[in-house]
Structures are given as structure tokens and as C-alpha cells.
């Protein structure tokens, strides 16, 4: 890769290019070319001599494009006749359409204050979107109770099936294992006091009051919330939501309402089922390794778990159902127009739902404590 300059003579600067110009080799310095073109004011024209150029690829074009730009800036005529025909044609292609100056996104300087400001604006925008979404859902519910909501009952039935019956295997497995784990951990401590029988109290109260609902909520966040976000996000990408809007159908009513209704209806049932499976898990440990029998375990659980525990658990599960459905649908509706946006929406739905579940659990627990139930 060699370059030399000849002239300028009679306003003409000759650039000699020789050797091999291939990607991977170091290009001649820009400053040298710039110095040659700008230091002498009498240059009218740049010509090339490429007789000794043996091999070239896009590397040569990068160099030629720089010269082209410099010549344009300095109003110097660039004579391309001396260039190989292929290089000349490719250079014409690369310079045919001028750069759109304001099309490039300007990368603003990211100072600390800038970042704080950007995050704050982002936070308020996100809060506004969330408020608008919740408002939209509320209006959809008002229309639903008035009997005016536009949605398909078959969609509601299908969603109930998907987030109800089809979730039973995973809810069974996880809840049974959570019951087992609680019983194992409790048994070690209770054995020290000879109070193994109270393992039924521990597992029963924990599962019915909060753990059953939390586990069902987390499972539904990962399974159904993500699915909601992906389904709605894909519809956004495929312009299906645009098609609904232009038909005058509210996506809130058509897409969000059936999903929210399905989860609100199914979550308490799933929670009840999770409670039973958790208690069964505890019973397996108690009967299997703690010399209790099923009858003892059943009587002890029946005595320990009150109806208020059950209502609190069901209240938890209803709240979690709403949160999971809202998170999934909100992130789906916020989805951009690319495949990666759908992935991000699904991930964000799960994170939002789980964080909401934990925060809601804390709030409800404190409230119950204050009320004294």
C-alpha cells in the first residue's frame, strides 16, 4: 500500500497509488492528504495514477471517498479517469446520494445532570403512560358492566382455559415442593422442642395465608404475564392493533379486558389449589419422616387455619391476578415494532409483575397486621 504525490503543476495534483490495497492493512494518514490538498491554494484538480496498483478492495474505496469529501469541501475537481474502472463505479455509487445531514441522531453529551434529567423525564413519561393505561382499563370495565364492551367471549373462554386449567400441572409441582420445603425447614427447628405436630400449623397457615397466593402469582407472572406481553407485542408489530383501532374497536376492551377478567377469575381458584398442594407437600414430610399420621396432620391443620386466613389468601391472589394481567398487557401495549421489542416486553412484564407482587404482599401484610387479622 503506497501513495505518493506529484505536483501540483499547473493546478493539478497527481496522486500515485501502487501495491496492494486490501482491508486489514493500514491506510495512509488522513492528515497527509489533507495537508497536500489544503496547504496549496492553487490546486484546481486532482488526478490519479494507478498503473502500479496490483490488488485492491473496499480499503481503496474508503481512501478514495475521503479524498472525494476533501475535494468537495475545498471545491477541487476530482478526475477519476486514472482509477480502475471498478473502483470508479463503486465510488460513484457511494457518492451518488449525498448524506442527509439531520438524519443522523446527534449523540448528546451524557453528563450526570443530563442523565438525571433524562431519567426523570423517562420516569414521568412512564408514570403518565401507566396512569393512562389504568384509566383505559377502568373505562373498559365500566363499559363491560354496562354490557357495551367490545370483546369476543370465545377469547375470554380461551384465556380462562390457558391461564386456568392449563396452569395446573406447574402450579401443582411448585406448590407441592414449596410445602415440602417449608415442612423440612420447620421440622428441624420444631424437633428440638418436641413440637413436630406444629409443622401442620406452620405449613397450613403459611400456605393458605400468603405462600399459596404468592407462588401462584409468581408462576402466573412467568407463564401468563409474559405470554400476554408477547401476544399483544406481536400484534403491535404485525399492525393488528392498528387494524383494531381503525375499525373503531378499543384494544383495551378487545385485548386487555378478557385477559384481566380471566386472570381475576382464575387466580383465586389457582390459589386454593396451590394451598391444597402445599398442605399435601407438608403432609408428605410429616408422615414420611416425622412419625405423624395423615389424620393427626389433617386435624392439626383444620384447627390452625382459620377462615380469615383463607380470605386473606384469596384477597392476595385476586390482587396478584390484577397486577400480573396489568403488567403483561401494559408491556405488550408499550411494545415497539421489532422482534427484540417483543422479547423486551415479555421480560419487562415478568419483572414488573414479580416486583408488584412482592410490594403488594408487603403492603397487604402490614395492613392485616394493623387491622389485627
Amino acid at each position: 500500500m503506497q501513495m505518493s504525490f506529484n505536483g501540483p503543476a499547473d493546478g493539478v495534483l497527481l496522486i500515485r497509488l501502487s501495491g496492494t490495497w486490501r482491508i486489514g492493512e493500514t491506510l495512509p494518514s488522513d492528515t497527509e492528504i489533507q495537508r497536500q490538498l489544503t496547504s496549496k491554494t492553487d490546486i484546481q484538480k486532482v488526478v490519479f495514477d494507478t498503473k502500479n496498483l496490483t490488488n485492491w478492495d473496499s480499503s481503496l474505496l474508503i481512501f478514495l471517498k475521503k479524498i472525494h469529501t476533501l475535494c468537495s469541501e475545498n471545491k477541487i475537481f476530482l478526475d477519476q479517469d486514472g482509477l480502475p474502472l471498478g473502483a470508479k463505479r463503486l465510488l460513484d455509487l457511494a457518492t451518488a446520494v449525498p448524506e442527509t445531514k439531520d438524519a443522523n441522531k446527534v449523540k448528546e453529551e451524557e453528563t450526570f445532570l443530563f442523565l438525571v434529567g433524562a431519567e426523570t423525564i423517562d420516569f414521568f413519561r412512564s408514570a403518565r403512560e401507566m396512569t393512562a393505561f389504568i384509566g383505559g382499563v377502568f373505562l373498559a370495565f365500566v363499559n363491560f358492566f354496562k354490557g357495551k364492551a367490545q370483546y369476543r367471549r370465545s377469547d375470554l373462554t380461551l384465556t380462562i382455559q390457558e391461564c386456568g386449567a392449563q396452569a395446573l400441572p406447574i402450579v401443582s409441582l411448585i406448590s407441592l415442593l414449596v410445602g415440602l420445603i417449608l415442612a423440612f425447614i420447620g421440622s428441624i427447628q420444631l424437633k428440638m422442642f418436641g413440637a413436630q405436630i406444629y409443622i401442620a400449623n406452620l405449613v397450613g397457615i403459611a400456605m393458605v395465608r400468603v405462600m399459596g397466593a404468592v407462588m401462584a402469582g409468581v408462576i402466573m407472572a412467568g407463564r401468563t404475564g409474559a405470554a400476554f406481553a408477547a401476544q399483544i407485542g406481536t400484534m403491535e408489530v404485525n399492525e393488528e392493533i392498528d387494524a383494531l383501532k381503525t375499525l373503531g374497536i378499543s384494544p383495551m376492551e378487545f385485548l386487555v379486558l378478557p385477559r384481566l377478567l380471566a386472570l381475576v377469575l382464575m387466580m383465586p381458584l389457582l390459589c386454593l389449589y396451590a394451598d391444597l398442594m402445599g398442605i399435601l407437600g407438608g403432609a408428605i414430610v410429616a408422615v414420611g419422616i416425622m412419625d405423624l399420621n395423615f389424620s393427626q396432620y389433617y386435624i392439626q391443620t383444620k384447627g390452625a387455619v382459620s377462615l380469615s386466613d383463607l380470605w386473606i389468601g384469596l384477597f392476595h391472589s385476586t390482587v396478584f391476578g390484577i397486577l400480573v394481567a396489568l403488567a403483561g398487557c401494559l408491556r405488550g401495549m408499550q411494545c415497539g415494532r421489532s422482534a427484540s421489542d417483543v422479547g423486551n416486553a415479555a421480560t419487562s412484564a415478568v419483572v414488573t409483575a414479580i416486583v408488584s407482587i412482592v410490594v403488594a404482599t408487603a403492603i397487604i401484610t402490614v395492613m392485616c397486621n394493623v387491622i389485627g387479622i
Binding site: Q150, N238, E240, A243, K245, T246, L247, G248
Partner: protein, 297 residues
């Protein structure tokens, strides 16, 4: 000849179907009356859609500014221009999917963006839209896709809706595909199914966003013929976003050319007349695929 026969066939069936239609209960409740098919509509002239001083932007980036044009009833109006110049964005503004930064879109002298939400919703019921990627609802079969607007906005019974759906699908050459899902058919068939959905309610205005994009030449030609036949049969006004020259010349009788450099309209008129009479190198370049020398010779 065959096309004429098809036209007569389509027109006759549509009239038969309209006779069968039940009276729309929405009329009694004071909402927008459901129009009936009226071939005389095609004889009306004068501005039907007017775009005035329209500016569209994404954030701070102005896509197009100060757009002014009118579309007459019965026109097949082409919005053309290079890739990324804002054609689809203009269509989104016209159909109510994107609010303009400035300016108005008038339908029959009614300002779309100044109208309240319920009036806007009623206006949108007069639109039939074919999206660039078809936008068929993937969880529904083709029959359910076409039936959905009919279920929402007419009081027709299940049996009549099924007949109408079969008719609409037959009109686009998809008879027998009622129970197929969008994922089970080809891109060209999806476009035609989306067209069947777009004409489900016999709309006044049909919008097509790049209808021929992604189709082979034969399918594209067939879709063009279908657009012409449906326009004639339904008496609809058609707005087409396209940069497919064959389609533009085959179906368009009026057009605007959007220029990404000046960010506004640089030509308006019949595409063939623009090709013959325009002196603007950008227009000639576009309409001749860059072969302006060929035009001269």
C-alpha cells in the same frame, strides 16, 4: 371481456346481498346510519377528502410539512415517493392512527382531527384499510377475520354473516379458505384475505398501504385488477400508498409525489400525465426508474 363479466357478477351479487340485509338497529339509536350500496355514488364529483397544511413529525424530526391536496370521490389516488419519505406516515395520519403536528384532514368537509372521539370513530367505520403486512388477526381464521367487523357493526344473523364472509372471500379468490389461519396461507393470499376484511362493511374509502409489496408480478397484477374491480363495484374512493410503478400506472388516476429532500409535495396529477409532461428530474427519475434517456428516445 372476462373482467367485464366479473364486474357484472360482483355487482349483481352485492345488490342481492344488500337486499337481504336486515335493517340496522344502530339507526334507531341515533348513531351513524349504515349506508346501502349505491352505484350512483360513483357519478358524484368534487373534493371528498382534503388535506390542508399538514405537518407530520416523529419527535423533533419533521417528516413532511405543509401538505395540501384534495381527493375526489371515486378517485384512485396514489401517494408516491421514495422509500422512507413518509408515505405510510401520511396514511396513518389520514386514517387516525397518528396525530399530525399541524394541519387538518377533512372528510366531506368534516375535520377529522378536530372532531370529538365518537364522531371520529364513526368516520373510521367508513374506512377499509389494507395494511402493508396484512395485519390479519392471527388468532382468528380468515372467516372470523372478515366476520369480525360485520359482527361488531351490523345486526346480521350468524347465517347471513357466514354467507357474506364466503362472498367476500370468494371475491378475492379465497373461496374454501374460510377455516384457514393467517399463518397457514401465503403472503399473497394473506393480502387478499386482508382485502376481503377491508371491504367487509362496503366502505366509502379504501386505504391500501403498499398493496403489491412482497408479491410476485402476477399476484401484484391480480391485486391491481381486484382493486380496480372493487372500486368500480363498491363506488369507493381509493387511496393507495405505493412506489411500485406498474401498479401506479395501472390503477392510479390522481397522485401526489412526496419528496424526502424538500419534505413536501413536489408534484400532483395523473401519474401518466406526470410522466409525459413533468420537467422535474426527481419525478422523471422516479417514474422511469432512473431511465430518463429511455423516455426521451
Amino acid at each position: 371481456m372476462q373482467r367485464d363479466r366479473h364486474l357484472i357478477y360482483v355487482s349483481e351479487i352485492l345488490q342481492l346481498v344488500e337486499v337481504k340485509k336486515h335493517p340496522d338497529p344502530l339507526n334507531e339509536s341515533g348513531e351513524k346510519p349504515k349506508k346501502m350500496f349505491n352505484p350512483k355514488q360513483t357519478t358524484k364529483t368534487g373534493p371528498f377528502i382534503a388535506v390542508r397544511d399538514l405537518t407530520m413529525a416523529y419527535g423533533n424530526f419533521v417528516v413532511m410539512q405543509d401538505l395540501n391536496f384534495t381527493i375526489n370521490r371515486g378517485d384512485i389516488f396514489i401517494i408516491m415517493g421514495g422509500s422512507g419519505c413518509g408515505k405510510s406516515t401520511l396514511m396513518k395520519v389520514m386514517v387516525g392512527l397518528k396525530r399530525p403536528e399541524k394541519g387538518q384532514v377533512f372528510y366531506k368537509d368534516l375535520s377529522f382531527w378536530e372532531a370529538d372521539a365518537s364522531l371520529r370513530k364513526n368516520l373510521m367505520k367508513d374506512f377499509g384499510i389494507l395494511y402493508q403486512y396484512s395485519a390479519l388477526w392471527s388468532s382468528m381464521t380468515l372467516a372470523e377475520n372478515v366476520a369480525f367487523p360485520l359482527e361488531e357493526y351490523t345486526a346480521l344473523g350468524h347465517h347471513e354473516i357466514r354467507e357474506l364472509v364466503s362472498l367476500k372471500l370468494a371475491m378475492v379468490g379465497l373461496a374454501g379458505f374460510e377455516e384457514f389461519y393467517p399463518s397457514e396461507i401465503s403472503g399473497g393470499m394473506r393480502k387478499r384475505a386482508a382485502l376481503a376484511r377491508a371491504i367487509a362493511l362496503d366502505p366509502d374509502i379504501l386505504f391500501f398501504d403498499e398493496p403489491s409489496a412482497g408479491l410476485d408480478p402476477v399476484s401484484a397484477k391480480r391485486l391491481d385488477n381486484l382493486i380496480l374491480e372493487l372500486k368500480d363495484s363498491l363506488g369507493a374512493t381509493v387511496v393507495v400508498v405505493s412506489h411500485e410503478l406498474a401498479s401506479i400506472f395501472a390503477i392510479g388516476n390522481n397522485a401526489v409525489f412526496l419528496d424526502s429532500e424538500t419534505r413536501t409535495i413536489i408534484a400532483q396529477g395523473n401519474p401518466r400525465e406526470l410522466l409525459e409532461h413533468s420537467q422535474d428530474p426527481k419525478i422523471l427519475n422516479f417514474l422511469t426508474r432512473g431511465d430518463t434517456e429511455g423516455l426521451k428516445s
